[in-house]
Amino acid sequence: MSTQSQNGYMLIFRGTDWYKGLSPEQMQQIADNWMAWFNRLKDQGTAVSGNPLEPEGRIVSGKNRVVSDGPFAESKESIGGYFLLKVSSMDEAVAIAQQCPGLQYGIRVEVRPVAGECPVAAEARSEKQLAHA
């Protein structure tokens, strides 16, 4: 895993039922903290974009392009939203992920470097180079 990405990093928030046992006041408090955190990152120019996602959706899969309804994964793995960050190192992105107000309630934050080119194509090319070597 490279520690630098010129294309930024994506934070993917996983877990969609972590707040089920909380009171409405607690939920509102976390939602407010989360929004304040995002606005701060946006004002600093660190966050480029971000959105929560509606819990429902569809899955499209297979040769026959079959459409099925969500939910998709286990609710603790399901994606609830994302931030796109303009930072240049994994360490910076991880430090921001560690500020997530949902962590203590069981949410998980996935930190992924944005790739400039499709990783599949890059892998295919390097395998080809190895084969020629």
């Binding site: 409405p24 959105n51 996602l53 899955i59 499209v60 899969s61 297979g62 992924r112 470097p113 599949v120």
Partner: protein
């Protein structure tokens, strides 16, 4: 699920092993088809942005830092109807999720007191 959403939809491309049994040429062919597909959607004003992501880390209160698998792509689109992704034929799946402008947490916080009111009203 609502048929309309003003905030757009997010397509999440899932699967990181679908290309392992393909030849280098096949992988490049699918990749070129995916690129052309994305460019066609962009030219039609249907896609707002797309990002390819590499392997990364997972932060959680319980386990600290764990390395997860990639690759995985997320694309936000502006409209619902779109032609299918070329990589579907090879075993990937695409998750389609409405983007929302209000956190579902807030919606839930607002709905709970209302549900309690209904419950006490009907009791």
């Amino acid at each position: 699920m609502s048929a309309q959403n003003q905030n757009g939809y997010l397509l999440l491309f899932r699967g990181n092993e679908w290309y392992h049994e393909l030849s280098v040429e096949e992988v490049q062919k699918v990749n070129n088809q995916c690129k052309a597909w994305f460019e066609r959607l962009a030219a039609g004003g249907k896609v707002k942005g797309g990002h390819l992501v590499r392997k990364g880390a997972i932060i959680s209160e319980k386990s600290g830092r764990v390395v997860s698998d990639g690759p995985f792509t997320a694309i936000a689109i502006a409209r619902t109807r779109t032609s299918p992704s070329p990589s579907l034929a090879y075993g990937t799946s695409i998750e389609v999720r409405p983007v929302t402008d209000e956190c579902p947490l807030e919606t839930c916080a607002r709905q709970i007191p209302r549900e309690e009111q209904f419950a006490s009203a009907s009791a």
